[in-house]
Symmetry: C2
Subunit: 150 residues, 2 copies
DNA sequence: TAGACACCCTGTAGTGACTACAGAGTCAAG
DNA sequence: CTTGACTCTGTAGTCACTACAGGGTGTCTA
């Protein structure tokens, strides 16, 4: 199948498929005489695996590790468990951060319920003080609040 | 004060301060005879404002809007309220997504409690199916699960 | 006055996971 | 034979920084 068909089947963008190939997550497929990539069922399954992992917010490097286990069926899967546990930890951490964020934002929002002039806007004033030292941690690969998903 | 002192006072990296200047969030400061940037109290306050906004996970473009209101005290602050409401919406959305993620990850983790061989690992098998169409939305600027904070 | 050392300067490149082109080639239908 | 949909490679852009390289400045001590 062509790259476009693979994209349609998996719900993955064409550029993303080429990107995964470039990153070594997907093996290089065969080519037609006209140099078009041609994929088989096994590529579709592999790509679904990758997209499932991504929809669980795993980083490509984590997925790389899982792929190694997927293709080495005799190894002990303890490392798979550990990877997932770490990842769950990251997600939990990020949820806690965002919840704290949310309550801070709502408290801020409550400072200005009316359409008064910016000069007296409680929100702008609330943002002006000395910076809190909320969250300065450093090794959670789970992104922050603003991202664009396709 | 020098850039290093400003950095120390606000808990912001030196490179980040130069970056904000380059992005037009901080006005260009004066310079000493030796070409060192020199900052005053108003810069420190402005930078604190920006860092507060960032610690609330606002995007630089959102902060730019707030800064315009901060320096135009006579305008009506309704847009400030709207911006914050939108941002709170993004954060709430992201929390909901992550919570769904968390329960999926935990369900997956329960599929393999033992150190069996990867061939029979329930996690790897669970990741293999057709991709769910969980979250395909597109305009939430709140990042995903993996990020590096300073 | 010399040297050491901390600090600062500009500019460029890297991060992660894509996304968006430009400019060209391929293929099937009408 | 033309149209139009699809594909190719390669490069640059996204966001909010971070990390250099290669140089200059300022202050303190010997």
């Amino acid at each position: 199948m062509t790259i476009g068909e693979l994209a349609r089947r998996t719900g993955c963008g064409i550029e993303t498929i080429r990107y995964y190939e470039h990153e070594g997550l997907l093996p290089k497929p065969g080519r037609t005489s006209g140099n078009f990539r041609c994929y088989g069922q096994e590529h579709a399954e592999l790509l679904s695996f990758i997209r499932n992992c991504r929809s669980l917010d795993m980083a490509l490097n984590e997925i790389r590790i899982l792929l190694r286990f997927r293709s080495a069926p005799d190894e002990n899967c303890g490392a798979v468990n550990a990877l997932l546990d770490t990842h769950i930890g990251h997600v939990e951490e990020r949820i806690a951060e965002l919840q704290s964020l949310e309550s801070q934002l709502k408290a801020l929002r409550d400072k200005c319920r009316s359409g008064r002039s910016a000069e007296h806007c409680g929100i702008l004033q609330g943002l002006g003080g000395a910076p809190d030292d909320r969250d300065a941690s450093g090794d959670n690969h789970v992104p922050r609040t603003h991202s664009t998903k396709r």
